[in-house]
Symmetry: C2
Subunit: 149 residues, 2 copies
């Protein structure tokens, strides 16, 4: 039987203090980090797929602005989702080994998603099409996403 | 060899007129309809999965409002995505056989998503948790989604 009362009280005090001073981690464990970034990126992927249908005349043009808006606000979470260095899932270790490059690509993607949402609201579908490539998905995935066999 | 010039010109005129009067279909073909509703529902599913992580303390509480907002605006497209009667994909034929019920569930889900987004903006994570069930995902999927083996 563990006798907690044998642990020196100073040690308990130190542990409690450390717990207070450490930044509260937003994720419970590493798998949560992987799951969360997967949800963030896949929700964007589905919105983009819908937009790709729309700009090729395969889905209702009237919905473009909603998808672009959902993509824009979700894009702002990508940095949160990748900041914790937890390799695995579909992320190559290069995400963190070359964080400056990856991080800049995320920032550029967020700016491009802003521009896309504004264009979709104002310009109609024809103006949206060229903005989809500006998100840089393919280039970034080529460098940092584990390719499925 | 088909001789187009044998088709009576009145018939051509009628066909052209019908094309003008028919509502322009938003989708190019039936598979586009299935793909589009899959993108709409899956993007919502990923946002909800992120929210479920958040309310169980597994992902950053600060992100709840963004996910709820993305879910809210996407929810408004579900009706568009299902209105065309195109069975297949993961939708049971009951979607259209019992359209009044299914359609009402979509309306209720949109209202619940509105309430969820408002709560997430104002009330913090503890207030969000009970609102996730109100979306009615499980009940509706039980009736209308083809269950994967």
């Amino acid at each position: 039987m563990i006798r907690f009362n044998r642990v020196p009280s100073l040690l308990w005090a130190a542990a409690v203090l450390a717990g207070t001073l450490l930044p509260l981690r937003s994720f419970a464990d590493d798998q949560d980090v992987r799951d969360y970034r997967s949800h963030v990126m896949k929700s964007m992927g589905e919105q983009l797929a819908a937009l790709n249908q729309i700009v090729t005349g395969k889905a209702p043009a009237a919905d473009a602005s909603v998808h672009a808006q959902a993509l824009r606000i979700t894009a702002g979470l990508a940095k949160v989702a990748f900041t914790e260095k937890v390799p695995g899932g579909e992320s190559k270790p290069e995400v963190w080994a070359r964080w400056d490059d990856f991080s800049k690509r995320l920032d550029d993607m967020v700016a491009a998603a802003d521009d896309l949402a504004r264009t979709a609201r104002q310009g109609g579908v024809a103006a949206v099409a060229p903005k989809l490539n500006a998100l840089g998905c393919q280039g970034c995935h080529g460098e940092y996403l584990v390719q499925k066999k």
